[in-house]
Amino acid sequence: MTEICCWIDHALTAARPQSIAALVRYFRDLDTAEEAFQEACLRALKTWPDKGPPRDPAAWLIFVGRNAALDGIRRQSRTGELPPEAPVSDLDDAETDMAQRLDDSHFRDDILRLLFVCCDPVLPVNQQIALALRIVSGLSVAEIARAFLSGESAIEQRITRAKRRIAQTQVPFEPPGPLQRAERLSTVATMIYLVFNEGYSATGGTAHIRAALCEEAIRLARLLLTLFPAEPEIMGLMALLLLQHARTPARLDADGAIVLLDDQDRTLWDAKMIAEGLALVEKAVRNQQPGPYQAQAAIAAMHARAKRAEDTNWPQIAALYEALQQLQPTPVVALNRAVAVSKVHGPAQALNMLDELETALVNYFYFHGVKGALLMQLGRAGEAKIAFDRAIARANTAAEAAHIRLQIDRLIKDSDAARTTSR
């Protein structure tokens, strides 16, 4: 019995994005679509264990959900005008086929539209993420609250607000043109990357909880790539997420402290994810249409290919960062490039590159951490200490602060040692 429940559960989760997306197209309303899907799931739980699963669970759920919602609308407005389509209460295979034919031609744009609705630019980023996790992934409010380390009522409110704002905006329901589709795809890719980062930036004792966000982002990216199998940037995004998430088991030590890439136990990296990520990078690059996700994935691939930290091909990584900086000229990319340059040409040259970034990144924890580390390598301990103190003041988490304190301890120990020897 548990096996059956487990199978049904997986099938319902897997069918969710396509089903909700189609129901949103019918009803043009998130709440109605969600309720219709819930009703269809309840009926599935009642009938599937006895009758066995339908051939196409999503088509079944769309069909049953749509009819259930139409029944509901009719009951509410008995005197009002009837919706155009006749209700069908009993399903046989012929009807399932019909439902499927109805939807196959649409479902790609349906799902893209649904994802796109969730990342409407009128919504703040944290609302976008919460809404996508609730509507598309089907996570419960409690699960989302746990992942955000936040209270359930706060998340509930965030989702309600997001839905209200979306209800006020006009979402175009006609199929998008090629240009519009490309724009939607890029917006949705950004949202998926943000979901991932929300989970990936987690540190300390809560990291394993927040890793669920990374897994959810990977699931969404996989869905997107299945729908758009020939988009190099979506391949790049998927590869990037896999290659980064593969390192998760090695990123924190037993006490929850940050372990830098150079010091990670690479045998803990997930070989299966790395293999898939590398295959996707290779496939993406064949298209010769470079983009920021592909460049980042290519950098992650260089790290993944190095068996030991000292095997890392830093010149190649520095070159990839230069390419990335041309595609995405942001100060953070420039900072990462400086780190790569320090590995190839030494800390002095990298420190020079940091000068022009100071204004833009003055409030960025990582900037001061990098600056401190470079100064430390140059033996300028006093200036390094100042930079590290600035970093601590801007740390987002206890683990980040602890990591910098460790660097300062090392500095002090080194300078003590130097003093002792000079005596």
Binding site: H10, A11, T13, A14, A15, R219, R222, L223, L225, T226, P229, A230, M235, M238, K272, A275, E276, A279, L280, E282, K283, R286, N287
Partner: protein, 129 residues
């Protein structure tokens, strides 16, 4: 002795959503059966393919053959055979596929990386033709 191939089909959206624990549990149960088959001298190579998102398709029904990103998606053609190749890169695999395609035009080849392979072949299987 007749040789049989068992081709595995399942909904990828479901299988790819398995947690590592669920996936490991399935693989463990399968390996119990496989071990029995090895002892009985019946098991040939077993492979698990990477997800279809890693697939590339070579359409060899035209000249020159056309490389398309994504899995083979036609329903009018049927699976008739397969190769397992050792390659340096995807490009290498594609050029081999092109050469094979020139020898036997028409239809398509789907090129997919292998995620896991158990090459412990049975002596009888290796010799049989």
């Amino acid at each position: 002795m007749q040789q049989f191939a068992i081709l595995c089909y399942h909904a990828e959206s479901v299988v790819c959503a398995w947690s590592k624990e669920e996936d490991d549990a399935v693989m463990a149960k399968l390996s119990v059966v496989q071990d029995k088959l090895v002892k009985a001298g019946k098991l040939g190579p077993v492979a698990r393919l990477m997800p279809t998102t890693t697939a590339t398709t070579l359409r060899k029904d035209r000249t020159p053959a056309l490389v398309v990103d994504g899995p083979f998606a036609e329903t009018k053609e049927q699976l008739l055979g397969f190769y397992i190749l050792n390659c340096d890169s995807l490009e290498d695999a594609l050029s081999i596929a092109r050469e094979l395609g020139e020898a036997n035009p028409g239809g398509s080849y789907e090129i997919r990386p292998v995620a896991y392979i158990n090459t412990a072949t049975v002596p009888g299987l290796a010799a049989a033709t």
